[in-house]
Amino acid sequence: MASDYLPLLILILLAAGFGVIAIGLPALLGPRERNKQKLEPYESGIIPFADARRRFPVKYYLVAMLFLIFDIEVIFLFPWAAVLRDLRLFALLAMVPFFIVLVVGFLYEWKKGALDWD
């Protein structure tokens, strides 16, 4: 039960601790030679035209959005998969409409060209 998860938490904390050490320690160990250019962005040895955080294509939003929706659907499959053995045909049938709607959505996207990346 809940206490099963304590070791996981410990692992997470230790792993994070290692990360912190690995990031912090070399800052003490390594040499320091600072100059102005070192702290400027690298862009092939040229000064960038503008700040990088500017504008990006909407395509990336669509990827994340599609992913989110499908992620939910995958999550819904998990409890279903868990009970498939017990409920058998009923579970299978219950999933059919869900699955069909999912596929319809998928096909719609496809038709709309949301899956074409060029």
Binding site: A15, F18, A52, R53, D118
Partner: protein, 326 residues
């Protein structure tokens, strides 16, 4: 001694796991460099120590004693957080993998499969934050690309996991390995392996899907502004991920720690697992030596227009098989 049971033993176990993984990482880099060299008819590292066995140590020493900077144009907290965020998931995904009979690496929880999916889900944070905080055109573009790639391939990956879950009937990886499987199930399972492997390649950003680091158009992608140990952390994350995912694949598809006599002699379990992992790692490197990389849009297209439908079909068929044949 409740607290001993609850806190200290798991902590020791966790420390050992982290240590083993980091050593594994070090020798994986050696393994890869050597193997790649042999694929390319050369020797590879062989001067630091015998057969270059101390090469990873040299790299580590160098990285530790390299200057650390935080450039002015970055978002400092996020810039520092990103490498750690990349590394942690790679280490903790191991927790639920069984390493011997009845023994998970850390804990056998009721949601083993979901743990894998969840940890895979947060893996992309390190990259996306690194790219954003670096405030560098190459980094940002690289980060967007790679995180889009990673989340996309998570879907077929999740669906394949569901299918395996359907067949196994248990959320616990420990039970999955120990459970009995009829032969047709193995065959059906192995059919999925190449596709699962492709998803894993994309998830771990390995060649041929190493677009985020594509040195070609984006210099070093999201890592461009990282140097020294912080860069090394991304490196570690990538390689530990390779080990972790190999272990997962070994567990899901090839019976994990199982092997002759592993039931009687518990200590044989980890050895079998190691052998399987090494073989799978060979596959990773072999692929890297042989196959060119696709373009970003082709990669995404492949995921959404081929892998996803395929995995949907695979889930449905698995469900039908499970209902009617078991």
């Amino acid at each position: 001694m409740d607290w001993l049971q609850l806190l200290v033993f798991p902590a020791i176990r966790a420390l050992i796991l982290i240590f083993v993984l980091l050593t594994g990482f070090a020798y994986l880099t050696w393994y890869e460099r050597k193997l790649l060299a042999r694929f390319q008819v050369r020797y590879g590292p062989n001067r630091a120590g015998k057969f270059g066995l101390l090469q990873p140590a040299a790299d580590a020493v160098k990285a530790f004693f390299k200057e650390e900077i935080i450039p002015n144009h970055v978002d400092k907290p996020v810039y520092l957080l990103a490498p750690a965020l990349a590394l942690v998931p790679a280490l903790i995904i191991w927790a639920v993998i069984p390493i011997a009979k009845g023994t998970p690496a850390i804990a056998d929880v009721g949601i083993g499969f979901l743990w894998i999916l969840a940890v895979a889900g947060i893996e992309s944070y390190g990259i996306i934050l690194a790219g954003w905080s670096s405030n560098n055109n190459y980094s940002l573009l690289g980060a967007l690309r790679s995180s889009a790639q990673m989340v996309s391939y998570e879907l077929p990956l999740g669906l394949f996991l569901v299918s395996i879950l359907i067949l196994a009937g248990s959320f616990s990886l420990v039970e999955l390995v120990e459970g009995f499987r009829p032969w047709w199930e193995w065959i059906w399972l192995w059919l999925a392996f190449p596709f699962f492997f492709i998803c894993i390649l994309a998830e771990t950003n390995r060649s041929p899907f190493d677009l985020p680091e594509t040195e070609n158009e984006l210099v070093a992608g999201f890592q461009t502004e990282y140097g020294g140990m912080k860069f090394a952390l991304f490196f570690i994350a990538e390689y530990v991920n390779m080990i972790s995912t190999s272990a997962i694949m070994a567990t899901l598809f090839f019976g994990g720690w199982k092997g002759p006599f592993a039931d009687q002699y518990i200590w044989l379990g980890p050895i079998y697992l190691l052998i399987k992992v090494v073989i799978l790692l060979f596959l990773f490197i072999w692929v890297r030596a042989s196959i060119g990389r696709p373009r970003y849009d082709q990669l995404m297209k492949f995921c959404w227009q081929f892998m996803l439908p395929l995995s949907l079909v695979y889930v449905s068929v698995s469900a039908v098989l499970a209902v009617f044949l078991k």
